[in-house]
Symmetry: C2
Subunit: 403 residues, 2 copies
């Protein structure tokens, strides 16, 4: 039932301990579900209650602690011995009287870890301010350090099997993009297009199924294209609407994001021109990707390519991506922006998404890529252009792309 | 573009301020996206970066602070004046050098709130331990109090329009359950069934579209029915598999959860019997729901009903639900369990989910309900029984239910 060979998990654990050692952390309390999955194999939608993977620097296996009803899932999905799976009773769940961190602190005391240097993921969605307060109160002899993103950085270089999973996610992303475009016409609502995209994302291919993406498909339409994170409505598409489609295929929690912009009907010259500029910028950036290049050099290449057309983009251009859980598929480590000194290495994977949001319209066109030994591998192969849609569903049910 | 009348938002704000006043909180920093939506109307998938709604007890409108690119969405989706929408630059996003709470603390100082009693949502997914540390450091003259669940408790009694939204979500939930059952047979994979469910959830009805549920459909199959939160695989369903389907219809972020258990092929006596016991328990509990009843009395009624059959359930039986965002559709306030002293009032809404997870199998059957002036309204009307599925897809494409 494991998604990776047990040796791969152990290798990940070793690299995590190496980093802990460098940072002077003896016990790492991991609450990021992606980091929990990465080191243990645990995969379930149980991160809405407190749960934790504990890595102790001188113990061979991590300890999983979660809710009672989730322990059988942890036993089934992780490589550790069953005795390393511990569970708290249900009265700790969303209660004003009991906090799961009380239970966890007690376990840490019992197994002799209460007086060590403990790393916690301070900047992580599922480690609340309250959780940290309770831990500090209940473990007065521990020294706490910030272990945020420690495992995230271990994750940045992917193994061959992880790359294979992202390639599978890429196949799913392309299918979902096709399905979305097929339902973008005036006889269809935004929710219909989102439903078609979701169907393909989850069904996957005949050979393998899809997993849920960590962000739902975004489908800003019309004036809403000027802002990236509004989800769909149930309005019908109209002629002359632009529609941004940002989605990610997902396979075993590994993502391949992909964004394109479509326009219904006659192509507006301004938007068409913007698409060409962005496509050229992507080409210019991708042409310099190879090991040894510093991330901010990619930003510089983008700026050089697009500034001559008067484009000045303030926001970051992309980020490291791969394994993740809601609410984000980005890895929260390296960003493609000014000042980021991360040096590219083979098997790093990024989502390059130079979105342009102007006052009344916007455009997104993105590529997910892998750094190879000598250059770059694009995960998807999708036309880099403004996708012109027929306003009407074609009688043959075809995708209506008229460009 | 607002989902509710502006008067409703203002009424919600008044009730929030009343509660703040009772708790001695002058400024409430709201980071729960559901609470942000409830008070402002803001709805976007932007909660993966730091954002906040600030309610100041002596100011007529809240202040929204978020990422630069999300501000146009906030202007479009909230009822407040545009000058109450503020945005931080992109270099604050997921950076080791800058934290959005630094920016927010500065704003609070500038608008004269730096020395007040400030409530923060300490036990909330999107308020990290680090966020709290930065705020405390940058606002040394403020007094901090825990404002966790303050707005959640204001949300517990629903308005007529909120009830209407949950009823719409209920229609979507029933359709999605039908679609899931239709694809549970030996010619179909778990991901195919999940895809069909998702399609219906998002498409909605002809009259209105669906929204994404805060939890993906759960579809534990076979031995996995013994644990509730594993998601689907790409395995084909097999004859004699049991399948638990837990999903929620969603309309404008309002949920109506619904769970049932299906079995492929000949009905196993043990499971059939368990379903009858649970159905009887649900009936017994629902028969006593009315204003004035204390929540733990519902748990008592359940225990009395099922104990005579040897059922002893440790986990809570349900929770208040309505408006929410990933990763949970529960409201984190009242729970249907021993010790919960919440007194039922008209227009409270709950998901009653007495899941039974045994060593090698399990069963879920749930109901979402509203407390009326005199009793109970069930949101969905779905058979309360083990749903027996034909192992084969029927030639007419019908749903294969043979019971």
């Amino acid at each position: 039932m494991l998604d990776f060979d047990i040796v791969e998990y152990q290798h990940r654990l070793e690299r995590t301990k190496k980093s802990m050692n460098e940072k002077g952390i003896e016990v790492l309390l991991i609450t990021d579900p992606a980091n929990m999955n990465y080191l243990s194999g645990y995969d379930a939608w149980s991160f809405y209650v407190h749960q934790m993977l504990i890595v102790i620097i001188d113990e061979p296996q991590p300890v999983w602690i979660g809710r009672y009803m989730d322990a059988p899932g942890a036993k089934a999905k992780t490589w550790m011995y069953d005795e390393n799976i511990m569970a708290y009773p249900d009265y700790y769940v969303q209660s004003e009287d009991h906090h799961p961190m009380e239970f966890i602190a007690e376990i840490l005391e019992q197994i002799g870890q209460g007086n060590r240097v403990i790393g916690v993921e301070k900047e992580q969605y599922y480690f609340t301010a309250k959780a940290y307060e309770v831990l500090k109160e209940k473990l007065p002899n521990a020294t706490f350090k910030d272990g945020s993103c420690l495992v995230n950085w271990v994750r940045i270089i992917k193994s061959p099997q992880e790359i294979d999973y992202i390639r599978k996610a890429a196949q799913i992303a392309e299918r979902a993009m096709n399905a979305g475009l097929k339902s973008i016409h005036t006889g269809s609502r935004e929710c219909d297009a989102a439903a078609s995209i979701f169907f393909e994302l989850i069904r996957g291919t005949e050979e393998y199924g899809g997993d849920y993406p960590s962000i739902v498909p975004m489908l800003p339409t019309g004036e809403n294209t000027s802002t990236p994170h509004l989800t769909w409505s149930d309005q019908y598409f109209k002629e002359d609407n632009s529609v941004i489609i940002e989605l990610a295929g997902c396979f075993k929690r590994y993502h391949c994001p992909l964004a394109r912009t479509a326009h219904i009907g006659q192509s507006p010259e301004k938007l068409e021109r913007l698409a060409q500029i962005v496509a050229e910028g992507i080409e210019d950036v991708m042409s310099i990707v190879k090991p040894g290049v510093v991330l901010e050099e990619l930003e510089e290449a983008w700026r050089k390519s697009t500034r001559r057309y008067g484009i000045d983009k303030e926001s970051r251009l992309g980020y490291s991506m791969g394994l993740n859980y809601p609410p984000d598929w980005g890895e929260h480590t390296a960003s493609i922006r000014k000042g980021d000194q991360t040096v590219l290495e083979p098997n790093m994977t990024f989502h390059f998404i130079p979105g342009i949001w102007l006052d009344h319209y916007g455009l997104e066109m993105s590529e997910s890529f892998r750094v190879t030994e000598t250059g770059v591998e694009m995960f998807t192969d999708y036309p880099r252009e403004l996708l012109i849609q027929s306003p009407f569903q074609l009688p043959d049910g075809s995708d209506g792309i008229i460009s």
